[in-house]
Amino acid sequence: NAGVIQTPRHKVTGKGQEATLWCEPISGHSAVFWYRQTIVQGLEFLTYFRNQAPIDDSGMPKERFSAQMPNQSHSTLKIQSTQPQDSAVYLCASSLDITGSQNTLYFGAGTRLSVL
C-alpha cells in the first residue's frame, strides 16, 4: 500500500509565478492535511479536508494561497504570485479519520518550493 504521494518533490519558481503542489492521500483515508515547514517557523498547519470538504483553513495566508480537493484521490495547494517568503517544504498528510483512534497522520515526503 503506497503512502502519501506528493509531487513534485522539488519546485523552483520565479517571483510572481504560480506554483501548484499535488498530494495523493493514502487510499481510504478521509482526512487530508497541508503543513508548511520552514527553519524559522517550524511546522505550521495550513488547512485540512474531510471527505473532500474544506473544514479548517485557519492557517492559510489569506491572499495568494488556496487549496482544493476535487476528488478523494488528490488534493492541490496553489500559490499565486509566489514570493521569496513562500519558500518552504510543503507537507501533505492523511489520516483514516479525525476522531477516535483513527487520527494518526501519515505524511508524504514533501515538496520543497524555492522562489527565486
Binding site: G42, I55, S95, L105, F107, A109
Partner: protein, 116 residues
C-alpha cells in the same frame, strides 16, 4: 491555546545506548494525544508512537516507548539500543481530541545523531 516545547535542539548517543528525548506541552483539553514523529534527512515524516491522555500506561512500540507524566504535562520518547539509522529530527506533536479536528501542533524538534 496549545503549545509544544522541545527544549533539546540536539542530542547524541553512541550505538547501542538508550536515548531519551523530552517534550512538554500546554493544553486545556482533557482528552488529547501526543504523537512522536521522526523526520528523515529526505524530509519524510515517519510516525513512531502516540500516547493517549486517558491511558495511564506508557505506550511502547518496538524499540520506542514513552514516559508519560500527565500531571507535569511532559512526555519523553525513549529509544532503546539506538542505531546510526535512528539519526534524524524527532518531533513531538499534540492533538486535542476535544476540538475534533485531528490537527497537530508540533514542537521545534530535536536533531538526534547516533554515532557508530
Amino acid at each position: 491555546a496549545q503549545r509544544v516545547t522541545q527544549v533539546q535542539p540536539t542530542g547524541s548517543s553512541q550505538w547501542g545506548e538508550e536515548v531519551t528525548l523530552d517534550c512538554s506541552y500546554e493544553t486545556s483539553e482533557y482528552f488529547y494525544r501526543i504523537f512522536w514523529y521522526r523526520q528523515l534527512f529526505s524530509g519524510e515524516m515517519v510516525f513512531l508512537i502516540y500516547q493517549p491522555s486517558f491511558d495511564t500506561q506508557n505506550q511502547r512500540s518496538g524499540r520506542y516507548s514513552v514516559v508519560f507524566q500527565k500531571s507535569f504535562k511532559s512526555i519523553s520518547l525513549v529509544i532503546s539500543a539506538s542505531q546510526p539509522e535512528d539519526s534524524g529530527t524527532y518531533f513531538c506533536a499534540l492533538s486535542e481530541l476535544g476540538t475534533n479536528t485531528g490537527k497537530l501542533t508540533f514542537g521545534d524538534g530535536t536533531v538526534l545523531t547516533v554515532k557508530p
